[in-house]
Amino acid sequence: MRVRALLALAALLLGGCASEPLTVHHLPPQTPAADTAAAVAQASSNPFQSAVSPKDKEGADVALLQAAAVPPMHTYDPWERMNRFFYRFNSRFDEAIFLPVANNYQRLPVSVQAGVHNFFGNLAEPTTAINDVLQLQLHAGLKSLGRFIVNSTIGIGGLLDVATRIHLQSSPTGFSSTLGRWGLHPGPYLVIPILGPSTLRDGFGLLGDYGLAYALNIADLYRGAKGYALWPIDVTDQRANTDFRYYASGSPFEYETTRFLYVHRELLEDEALHAKTTPTVIDRKAPDALTH
């Protein structure tokens, strides 16, 4: 019976619902007062009007743009066939199930969403603290631990993020970054079913973080029925807070673009982490002009 239901679900996902000429998706309302302020700010800092060189604002990253540091557009992807399959599968799953659920979640009062988001963020702090220690970032580890203690008590079990208000900013990290800190390359690109673009190391990282959380088993939330009940809420909250939509570009080249951006974002994160843990003098010389 269960198998039949799963097959029916798979058929629905893969077939789409193309019979209706029109589908209407109710999206969460936009908040233009805030967004537009940001957009206007961005427009007024537009490069065509501003004499400020963007590289001055971005400082340290300029070094990464030196000609020699430019990575090839080609991205290591030995499992491309499988990855492309799951990219398509995820896109359909996203449209049929994940996004509608996340959209409905976003229609809840903002305070409820914030509570859920803070709650799961707080649960992740001990894992972050342990990873900070493994990355030799003791100060950050203490901060995460402090956040956990403050938010679990004064913040009513993590529903309120009091710690940020007393200048203990959140800086989540995970086992994947820890592996990167000790020199493990991100490895091949990997599209994980349902969760999306990733790398092999990120996949291991996810398992590692989950194993840690399971071992810590805070408030007995990770075992038995409670674990099963909380996981979907956590994933929904994460989806609702991820600004990504499959094939929003409408382009058949999207797979390549996303792959490049994802893997290189991870490489840049590794660079940044290395720079933080091993202080070096950053060469602020301007990147080579492209005309030369």
Binding site: P29, P32, A43, G250
Partner: protein, 383 residues
């Protein structure tokens, strides 16, 4: 500015859509976004610029402004957006001002007919930015004859005057600042995408929006490079998709073998490398012109170029008081002749700001005030 703007996404199958090539399976439906006022209200239709979908950040800015001023707002993709080319174009070869506008006009009629029940529309106006401005003008001129939507006013925000000479100029700018060799271009794209990856690292998002692109590109091109090249670059990125779709649909065989088109799941990386080096001139001479010369009897390359100027509706623009335009003195897609032409045609119905480049001042207070007054038919020069 309103606190919140309700938003619906409309995914529509058009009955006249051409067979969808397998690798475009995700573009089967035309996607548009709609924000409804509770009661009767005028409808503002807003058309995206080159390569933009119906929900770009510029459209979001305009949506907020227009919704706040009491309009229903329908935002639609550019006819050069791959999703539009696949779901709504009658040719698959984008870039012809009149043909693209006709296709979009037909799609708009379907969209307006399918707006949620209970939407009460008191008047229809059409706006567009960049290339979308040219489409807005031509669509209103079509509607002036056919009266299918009864469009009252058209507002052109930073329009081009001659599509191919604008982009020809962009090709030139691109070559000047990047160099023309294939390796130079590929090197630039690598840098650009690395910069984008860096932006995502900061903002924890993974969307590719023109605003991100501009900020990434402006960093890559370094401060002393001509910033117009950034605009050129963003157009060139849109060209990759337009070129690919055009070549596939027209069967011109430049990068897609018409006998063996790529299947779902095939890698397109090698094609992407070739396409990133292509110019607008390449697109015109190897895909666009061959297709239209074969399908439009009596046309010549010169006539195709002429058909892609706002000239084709010059009389209407000059004499019909319901067309308005706004642009900037330093917009890189216009030369001084183009600007003079716009001033001559629009007369008292154009505002030209001193600064702002190409769309740099969209959403600024003065621009918004002028825009809303134009839409309401209240705008007077210099007030």
């Amino acid at each position: 500015m309103p606190e919140t703007v309700p938003l619906l996404e409309l995914d529509l199958s058009l009955p006249w859509a051409r067979p969808v090539p397998a690798i475009y399976w995700f573009d089967r439906r035309l996607r548009a976004w709609f924000s409804a006022q509770p009661g009767a209200a005028p409808l503002a239709i807003v058309i995206a610029g080159t390569g933009g979908d119906g929900n770009t950040s510029k459209l979001a800015t305009l949506r907020a402004v227009l919704y706040g001023a009491g309009y229903h707002v329908l935002t639609v993709p550019s006819p050069t957006f791959p999703g539009f080319i696949v779901s709504a174009s009658s040719t698959g070869v984008a870039g012809d001002l009149k043909q693209d506008s006709q296709d979009l006009y037909a799609a708009l009629q379907m969209l307006v007919a399918h707006l949620p029940r209970g939407t009460r529309i008191s008047e229809v106006d059409v706006l567009g930015y960049s290339l979308g401005a040219a489409h807005a003008a031509v669509i209103k001129s079509l509607d002036d004859v056919e009266h299918k939507l009864k469009i009252k006013r058209a507002i052109l925000i930073n329009p081009p005057v001659s599509l191919f000479s604008s982009i020809g100029r962009l090709d030139e700018l691109f070559t000047l600042s990047i160099g023309s060799g294939d390796s130079g271009v590929e090197q630039l794209y690598k840098r650009l995408y690395t910069r984008l990856a860096n932006l995502y690292r900061r903002s924890n998002k993974v969307t590719l929006d023109e605003t991100d692109l501009y900020s990434a590109a402006s960093a890559v091109l370094t401060s002393d490079a001509d910033f117009s090249a950034v605009i050129a670059l963003s157009f060139r990125l849109s060209l990759v998709d337009v070129f690919y779709a055009g070549d596939l649909y027209a069967g011109t065989g430049i990068v897609v073998d018409p006998k063996h088109p790529p299947a779902v799941g095939d890698s397109l990386e090698h094609i992407g490398v070739v396409l990133r080096g292509k110019t607008f001139a390449d697109y015109f001479s190897t895909v666009f012109a061959p297709y239209y010369l074969a399908h439009r009897p009596g046309s010549t390359p010169a006539s195709l170029l002429a058909d892609n100027r706002l000239d084709i509706i010059a009389d209407t623009l000059e004499h019909n008081p319901d067309y308005y335009a706004m642009t900037n003195d330093d917009d890189p897609i216009l030369n001084s002749d183009d600007l003079a032409w716009l001033r001559a045609k629009f007369g008292a119905r154009i505002v030209v700001y001193d600064h702002g480049g190409h769309l740099g001042n969209l959403g600024e207070r003065q621009q918004v005030t002028d825009l809303l007054e134009m839409l309401a038919g209240l705008w007077k020069r210099g007030t």
